[in-house]
């Protein structure tokens, strides 16, 4: 148990090295190796969950080792209720991702090696508590993603990959500047826990070029994270990257990588700059609203099913942003409404997880139909419900989960986000409820066009979803259903940590005007 976090991070690298030694012709062996690696990692995440103390809102399983002492950089890992669900999600989706990629034909060896490298990067970001380490893992993620999209993607893959790369790089450069700003103004440390302690005071009142340092750093870091979320107007890489990426990569992109943005904002921006939270929360809610409406409208207009699902991600992450903004409800100025803050933060974090499972499911399902029909034009289908009843049923559940049907997990988190933000941002929340209508509209309309009506003659021998595909999608379905009916296990994990974060933000903020 002692080094379990390190194991989680480095296990994929071991798998990658192992794959490097397998001759490229033995494709099955490579796939099996990847499956075993990710499977073991997934199992370890479950072990971690089992040993996790959900009553403790602070960091657990901490590991610390000196790394570059001259710059005060250390190898510092830890997990809390915010990162644990994401770690489990990562383990699960990468495991499933291997099976989604089972039919990859081109350069199998390279694909799975990069796949596992990506895994290490993602795990590392979620677990590292040193900013420098965090940044390194953040960049480690970027490279395999670039190649995975650029080499195994669709027709426009190079364009999509380079766009993704530049967009994200732009964000991470700003982030790096922010990190350095923090480093030099907060006692030359990269340790996130240490920064969380000292930054609120060290930054208070600090002025740079006539601007408050908090604002500057907040904005720098926020843009870095916002590109990943993606927050309007930094979202346009997403549809393209999603559409061009191979199915498994879309799954991971939507399922995990988008969560890094929200995770980063909560972990870093909220932890280090409580005053910034108060300053920015209105904008956060507003951006959430724009995400919801804009994403919803764009999704409504799409003719490509995968692009629709991609825009639905923009829409869904908007709810998360709105929920996050609710943390200010706990402040004195807003009546110390702890209830609302808990609901909003819990909803935002729950929404991350739910969107992870639901969008993963949606992308897998899009992949299934694409593999059979070789196109994704919504108008090009029709009447598939009578041809593929099982597939239709599963897609129906996934779509209903996407449009926030009670009984499926998406509803609870969306409702919590709204309930949390409502006392503080009534207008924004009321306006964004239009989003749930748009949600329903674009999902149902697409569903009708694909599955209802007379069966398109072209597709009267389309095979039903097969066992491998069922194996990838059914677990997600079960999770969605389970948390939709009984969300308590998830909320148990996060609630202590959410309390810690809320308390921290409320207590550490100076409420000085900036």
């Amino acid at each position: 148990m002692e080094y379990i976090l390190s194991w989680l991070i480095w296990l994929p690298v071991v798998g990658m090295v192992a794959i490097a030694f397998i001759p490229r012709e033995k494709e099955d062996l490579i796939k099996q190796a990847a499956a075993v690696t990710t499977g073991v990692q997934f199992f370890l995440t479950l072990v971690l969950w089992n040993n996790f103390d959900s009553q403790d809102g602070s960091m657990q399983f901490k590991e610390w080792a000196e790394w570059i002492p001259s710059f005060n950089i250390s190898y510092h890992l830890g997990v809390d209720g915010l990162s644990l669900p994401m770690v489990i999600l990562t383990g699960m989706l990468f495991f499933i991702g291997v099976f989604v990629s089972w039919n990859i034909k081109k350069a199998v060896k390279g694909y799975f090696a990069l796949f596992l490298l990506l895994n290490t990067g993602v795990m590392g970001v979620f677990l590292s508590l040193d900013f420098f380490l965090f940044y390194i893992f953040w960049e480690v993620m970027l490279l395999p993603m670039y190649f995975l999209i650029g080499m195994w993607g669709g027709p426009q893959r190079e364009y999509a990959a380079i766009k993704f790369f530049l967009y994200t790089l732009f964000g991470s450069v700003l982030m790096l500047v922010g990190i350095l700003g923090l480093y030099f103004s907060c006692g030359k440390t990269f340790d996130i826990l240490e920064l969380t302690r000292v930054a609120p005071e060290a930054l208070g009142g600090l002025m740079w070029w006539g601007m408050s340092a908090i604002k500057v750093i907040w904005v720098l870091l926020f843009i870095g994270f916002a590109i990943k979320v993606p927050v309007f107007p930094f979202h346009t890489w997403l549809p393209l990257a999603h559409v061009e990426a191979p199915t498994a990569i879309s799954v991971l992109l939507a399922g995990i990588l988008l969560k890094l943005g929200v995770y980063g904002i909560i972990r870093v921006n909220y932890g280090l700059m409580p005053d910034g939270v108060y300053w920015f929360s209105y904008a956060l809610a507003l951006l959430g609203l724009i995400n919801v409406i804009w994403g919803g409208l764009c999704a409504l207009a799409q003719t490509d099913l995968k692009k629709l699902v991609a825009y639905s991600s923009v829409n869904h992450m908007g709810y998360s942003l709105i929920g996050m903004a609710a943390i200010v409800a706990a402040g004195e100025a807003n009546g110390a409404n702890i209830k609302a803050a808990q609901a909003g933060m819990g909803g935002a974090v729950f929404q991350m997880f739910n969107h992870g499972t639901i969008s993963a499911m949606l992308f897998i399902l899009v992949g299934v139909i694409y593999e059979r029909a070789h196109h994704r034009e919504i108008e090009g289908f029709g009447g598939l419900a009578s041809q593929m009843p099982v597939y239709t049923g599963i897609t129906a559940v996934a779509f209903f989960a996407g449009l926030g049907l009670p009984g499926l997990s998406g509803f609870i988190s969306e409702a919590m986000c709204f309930i949390g933000a409502f006392p503080v941002y009534k207008t924004i929340v009321i306006a964004s409820t239009i989003g749930i209508l748009l949600n329903a509209a674009y999902f149902l309309w697409a569903f009708q066009r694909i599955f209802f009506g007379e069966l398109n003659e072209k597709y009267n021998d389309l095979p039903e979803i097969n066992r491998l595909e069922l194996f990838t999608v059914v677990p997600l379905l079960i999770i969605t259903l389970f948390f939709g009916i009984y969300p308590a296990p998830y909320l148990d994990i996060i609630s202590s940590t959410m309390d810690t974060i809320i308390e921290h933000v409320v207590d550490m903020a100076t409420y000085a005007s900036m």
Binding site: T236, K339, G407, I436, G453, S495
Partner: protein, 683 residues
């Protein structure tokens, strides 16, 4: 209170249909008879349990009976949600209604959908619906009510779209869901308004909170109107009424169960539940929406020729009545009407289903697939061919028209009395009773029009009449049962006065005081209604008679020509026939603009913002790099660097001979270099 036996019953009633749903979805196709017996068995058990509860309630005869049980569903510390059951007399009655109609529908469907390709799925969805509906009925808090509310919407979506090969069915199902969602948004905003003030979802806490004044005034009005918007969506009130007529694309038993008796009544049920927190302003909104819907839908029903459309608009109109009753304060009357309406309207739908069924078979015999089996213009003279259907439908028609001795008379009378008394207290709202009585007149007219066109007169398609048969007993059974339940006697026991609603219902469902400070108390409302009772009764008997007579004169005696009248009324007739062009206008002013907006937004996002703005950065960088590249090459590279290079080249050529490529020369130079360095160092 958790131990109360009713809670256990409720658990079974709630979850048995769900179990049936799960079994049907996963194993239905493989079971004998496609597993309809599983669903019927499950639903029958719930019916038995519901009857048991109902009998218990009658035996106890306690108007204050209420048990509650809840559990923590979601807990984050301060923020937590408890879900649970609230069982009181209203719940028990409603459970019985749902279980009864649902059982009838299940049995009816075994014949109506015989041989359907998705037979087992259909029964599964019925189970899902019954589960969700029971969930709404049993909810003790707004949150679980909202959740089941949406689930009901989904089961309705699935059932309306049962024959999804037809585009009209697929469209109707989507329309139903989306229109309901509009209402649900209001519902959810209402919930949030209340929760942010009260901090709890449970009805009891909400009532306490409102009573203590933590939420009042405009906010409370808005919250009430928000919650009522949910009811508007589900109960298909103007202007969200558009989905219900289209929902008739679903199988007729479904229309009977959901779109007549139970699901659409959920809105009324919600209004009844939240009645205590509605402020006078909110109530006024409710009353006007209900009243207008009642007369508006009735005026459409008059001209419809599709038998199910007539019934659909009639349902909208009757729901408007109930909402009107809630708005005018006599909410128990609304619930009473819900109860009676559930019985007779379900029966009317069964009857129409029976007619359509045999029309369908007759047309099938003739290999005629063009003629619409639901169009009343193709019917007529079925009375002798389908006597059971005819007679029991007649009972229900009497009930809905408000003929004394029938159940509808009692409940309608109670509503009209409440409305009248409200208008007496507030003369400025004289429109409300006018809406009520106008609608009553039209109801009597169009319902008998439907009966006459279908069952009386000469057959319009004589070639069919030989093939028209009475439906099998699985279908006639429910029809007879519910026809019988249209009689007044069942609702007034243990009393036998056909002119008074007094009976077990009024004894057990007693109006409670509103908790909003300053509202009229239940007693005051009761008093007023009581005073208006006889006046209302006379008027309503008069308008019902008038309506029936008019109808008789037009369609039996032909003393009045319907065609002439319709020609003479000009645009009014066209408006009514075309449902006041609501669908067209919504399409033109809401759907299309939204889609265009979406296209526009997507275009801006993709073609403009991304291609020009974001990629503009790329192009800018590209351009800048070209400029710098040119500068780099022409100036720095060619002039400076290459200049240096040329000089170096010159020097290099001189030293070229040193570069022998022989390793050992290099070693030698290295060693020499070391020595030179050492010598220099030593100085």
């Amino acid at each position: 209170m958790m131990e109360h036996i009713f809670i256990h019953y409720s658990l079974f009633i709630l979850f048995l249909p769900l179990v049936a749903f799960v079994i049907q979805i996963f194993f239905g196709k493989r079971l004998p008879r496609e597993g309809d017996w599983v669903s019927i068995g499950a639903i029958s058990i719930t019916l038995v349990l519901a009857i048991n509860m109902f009998v218990q309630m009658l035996l106890d005869y306690d108007s204050d009976f209420s048990v509650e049980a809840s559990f923590v569903w979601l807990d984050m510390g301060a923020f937590n949600i408890r879900l649970g059951f609230l069982v009181d007399n209203i719940t028990i009655i409603m459970l019985l209604v749902v279980a009864l109609i649902s059982t009838c529908t299940h049995i009816f469907s075994t014949q109506y959908l015989k041989g359907d390709i998705r037979y087992s799925r259909y029964f599964g969805y019925l189970g899902l619906f019954t589960f969700s509906m029971n969930g709404i009925v049993l909810a003790n808090n707004l949150m679980s009510m909202y959740m089941f509310w949406e689930l009901v919407g989904v089961s309705s979506y699935l059932l309306i779209g049962h024959w999804f090969e037809k585009d009209s069915a697929a469209n109707a199902s989507k329309k139903a869901f989306l229109t309901n969602r509009v209402g649900d948004i209001g519902f959810f905003i209402g919930i949030m308004l209340i929760y942010s003030a009260v901090g709890s979802f449970a009805f009891t806490d909400v009532f306490d909170g409102v009573a203590s004044g933590v939420i009042a005034g405009t906010t409370l009005t808005l919250a009430g109107v928000g919650l009522f918007m949910g009811a508007m969506g589900k109960s298909s009130q103007f202007p969200l009424h558009i989905w219900l007529p289209d929902a008739m694309e679903g199988p007729t038993p479904v229309s009977a169960l959901m779109h007549a008796a139970t699901m659409v009544a959920a809105g009324v049920y919600l209004s009844v539940r939240i009645f205590p927190i509605l402020t006078p302003d909110a109530l006024l909104v409710v009353a006007y929406v209900g009243g207008f819907t009642a007369i508006f839908a009735a005026s459409i029903a008059i001209t419809q020729t599709d038998i199910k459309k007539v019934l659909a608009y009639s349902t909208v109109s009757q729901l408007g009545y109930m909402i009107l009753a809630v708005g005018t304060g006599v909410y128990t009357a609304a619930f009473f009407h819900l109860l009676t309406h559930a019985m007779f309207k379900a029966n009317l739908f069964y009857g129409s289903g029976s007619v359509i069924h045999s029309m369908h078979h007759a047309l099938h015999e003739k290999h005629d697939h063009e003629t619409d089996p639901q169009d009343m213009r193709n019917m007529g003279g079925f009375k002798d061919k389908m006597p059971i259907t005819y007679w029991s439908m007649l009972l229900s028609t009497m009930a809905i028209a408000g003929v004394p001795l029938f159940s509808g008379f009692l409940s309608k009378d109670a509503i009209l009395a409440g409305t009248l008394s409200f208008a007496m207290h507030h003369p400025e709202h004289f429109l409300l009773p006018l809406f009520g009585f106008g609608a009553a007149l039209m109801t009597a007219f169009y319902m008998f029009r439907m009966m006459f066109l279908t069952f009386h007169g000469e057959p319009k398609m004589p070639e069919l009449i030989d093939d028209i048969h009475e439906s099998p007993k699985e279908m006639t059974g429910p029809i007879v049962l519910l026809g019988a339940l249209s009689l007044f006697i069942w609702y007034t026991l243990p009393y036998f006065n056909p002119m008074s609603t007094h009976g077990w219902f009024t004894d057990l469902v007693v109006p409670k005081d509103a908790v909003v400070p300053g509202n009229l108390s239940a007693n005051e409302i009761e008093e007023g209604a009581h005073h208006a009772h006889y006046l209302a009764m006379y008027i309503s008997i008069a308008v019902a008679t008038l309506g029936i007579l008019l109808s008789w004169a037009t369609y039996i005696k032909k003393a009045v020509s319907a065609d002439q009248w319709s020609a003479r009324s000009g645009f009014l007739y066209n408006w009514s026939l075309n449902k006041y062009y609501f669908d067209e206008n919504y399409d033109r002013y809401i759907y299309q603009p939204t889609l265009r907006l979406a296209d526009k937004v997507a275009w801006i996002d993709w073609e403009l913002y991304d291609k020009y703005f974001i990629n503009g950065f790329g192009r800018l960088t590209n351009w800048a790099s070209k400029i710098t590249g040119k500068f780099d090459y022409d100036v720095i590279d060619q002039l400076l660097v290459d200049g240096t290079g040329r000089i170096s080249n010159l020097i290099g050529r001189k030293f070229k001979s040193i570069q022998t490529g022989k390793l050992q020369n290099y070693v030698l130079y290295v060693a020499a270099g070391v020595i030179i360095l050492m010598v220099i160092q030593s100085f």
